[in-house]
Symmetry: C2
Subunit: 354 residues, 2 copies
DNA sequence: CTGAAAGCGCTTACAG
DNA sequence: CTGAAAGCGCTTACAG
């Protein structure tokens, strides 16, 4: 392992040939026994002997040799922009479960880590280390796409649609935003703002669309001042909320597109002396174990992120490369009501009407 | 890639032989040109021709073939218990940077994911997919250890010491806890409690030791009632803080061993009607971008997690397998003072004395 | 049916 | 010095 000191040879691992010799059969027989080749005719007694040798010698297949021979690796890669985003923890969990269930290894890497330029990870992928790729966030740059096409490497966009690509698995972000709006409408709100995500983010666009559709459905007017792009960060939420609080006629409720931004929004409201939910209700998309512990605890729309990871792996593994995959995960989306949402203040109607 | 439909053969990728043919040289020459073999004597003109063919054919080395030949993979694995713990995001970031800088790929996996039993990932590792392993959390169970020894696979414990293992890279948790105590002592606190982590966690033990040492250093008595084991979760913090608030003679400050637990502790204080920092100050170990946005914002000891990841990779790659590695990362540890810590309430001296 | 052989794509010791 | 050949450890089509 050491770049220097090549010595210290690792104890040699048992090979198929070792097992064959030990059991007195050909290596091909061992291989077939281990892969349960239905064609193989072998006496039970011999099979037992082979298996005993395998376990006695501690034989484990050599992935490199198998992969060289079969041109498959049994590994799929998942690239995410940032391990710090808790959304991905759940996605990874589902993806790992699905990969494991199918006998694949899932390796996760970050496409934006310090020092890891896209080229770095492309080099790795181009070397045939994975059979397919799940790409979240902005991982599919034009350069990456070109390389994937060149390598003929199957891939699927995860939680992201992209112009010109017909291979993605996403959540029903429209519905999620709609649920948030519906909840606020039921509480009696009529002036509902939206802290949308960054302009470039495709999830943000779909949530925005869901917000607008739900407003329309409820017969509420759409005020463009009430929709503000905000980064998916606490700072983004602070900036957006601060702007909303400066409006002549303030919203009585805000649908925030992202949990981190919602934390910032709560902070900004507090800083401006605006009571939540007394003066303004806040609902966020994506729940988190922390939501319960914020002040006030945060009403959130829970998304089926594990299911998203699971479905993405399943689709990647079960489709031929050139098939289109355009799937919206149908897992349960539900609003978890907590303290940050309540009926609008008594005076708000009048205020809005003036 | 598809388990069914094997057809749809991927376009064949260029091999060394293709490049050699294209450039009119032997494959071995191509290999040597690409690896910059200093022994190789070749005319500049020929070298250019080879390189041109490489780029024209889009040749990329086949990792499986290289790995089979060299018995090395150029990959190291990092196993963490849980992607949802934000501490690991920073560690991964540092580890990826270090691995990339050394020409290695870092693949990250979770040892505790649903469905991924230890055996599952052991099988994968045993197949020779990585040259070495970084293990965080509880990943090194006795079974795992036995297997690693059997496979002669180099590994290093990350952020964890373990009885009987002399291969680890950890942070200076004692110092971190000490800084937290020192900060509170400077503010005038004399009754400083500790929400220690779970009994089994080695980081918890070291933080506890640092807490005790700092108390002693400050000449403060150690009250066993003031040290309470608490899970590294918001719920753990709630339970621990609730217990502390019931003490006859309450602490005026609490050093919490973990950020998630600190969030729970703040919640519990609020629920009990105890003002932070008015009645009790809270300091946590590990900073987070969220600390700023909690109510009150949370004083935290910032740890060099990226450096931990970086060092672990460096040590794993530069040591021979049987060398002992016992390293405490020396990166900067610093206390970030925010609103959750303040001088003790005026009456506290009297109260403590009664 | 079954065993022996070919060959996946590399790297590098070695014969010339 | 340099090119050709061996061989890493598998799997599987195929000859017998």
């Amino acid at each position: 392992m050491s770049p220097r000191g090549s010595g210290q040879a690792r104890q040699r691992r048992a090979t198929l040939a070792d097992v064959g010799r030990h059991a007195g059969v050909d290596t091909s027989v061992v291989s077939r026994v281990l892969s349960n080749d239905p064609i193989l005719n072998i006496r039970d007694e011999t099979r037992e002997r082979v298996l005993a040798s395998v376990s006695e010698l501690g034989y484990v297949v050599n992935a490199a040799a198998r992969s060289l021979r079969t041109a498959r690796t049994g590994t799929i890669g998942l690239f995410i922009p940032d391990f710090a985003n808790p959304v991905y923890a759940e996605i990874i969990s589902g993806a790992e479960a699905a990969a494991t269930a199918r006998g694949y290894a899932l390796v996760t890497g970050s496409s934006g880590a310090s020092g890891a330029t896209p080229q770095t990870y492309l080099d790795l992928l181009g070397q045939g280390r994975v059979d397919g790729l799940l790409l979240a966030g902005d991982a599919l740059t034009p350069a990456v796409r070109k390389a994937l096409d060149e390598f003929n490497l199957p891939y699927l966009l995860l939680n992201r649609k992209m112009r010109g690509s017909h291979r993605f698995v996403v959540l029903d972000d429209e519905k999620a935003a709609g649920l948030a709006v519906d909840h606020l409408v039921e509480l009696g709100h009529t002036r509902i703002a939206h802290l949308a995500g960054p302009a470039g983010a495709d999830t943000a666009q779909r949530r925005r669309a869901g917000y607008l559709a739900a407003l329309k459905q409820a017969g509420l007017p759409h005020d463009p001042d009430m929709v503000i792009a905000a980064d998916y960060t606490p700072e983004g939420g602070v900036a957006g909320m601060t702007q909303l609080m400066k409006l002549r006629s303030r919203p009585t409720a805000v649908v925030v597109s992202n949990f981190a931004a919602a934390i910032g929004a709560l902070g900004a409201a507090r800083a401006s002396g605006v009571s939540v939910p007394g003066e303004v209700s806040v609902v966020t998309i994506h729940d988190s174990p922390l939501a319960e512990f914020l002040v006030p605890s945060l009403t959130a729309v829970r998304m089926p992120l594990e299911e998203l990871g699971r479905r993405a792996v399943d689709r990647l593994l079960s489709r031929r490369f050139d098939d289109a995959v355009e799937e919206v995960v149908t897992g349960p989306i539900e609003l978890v009501a907590r303290r940050s949402s309540a009926p609008p203040p008594a005076g708000s109607k009048r205020k809005a009407a003036k």
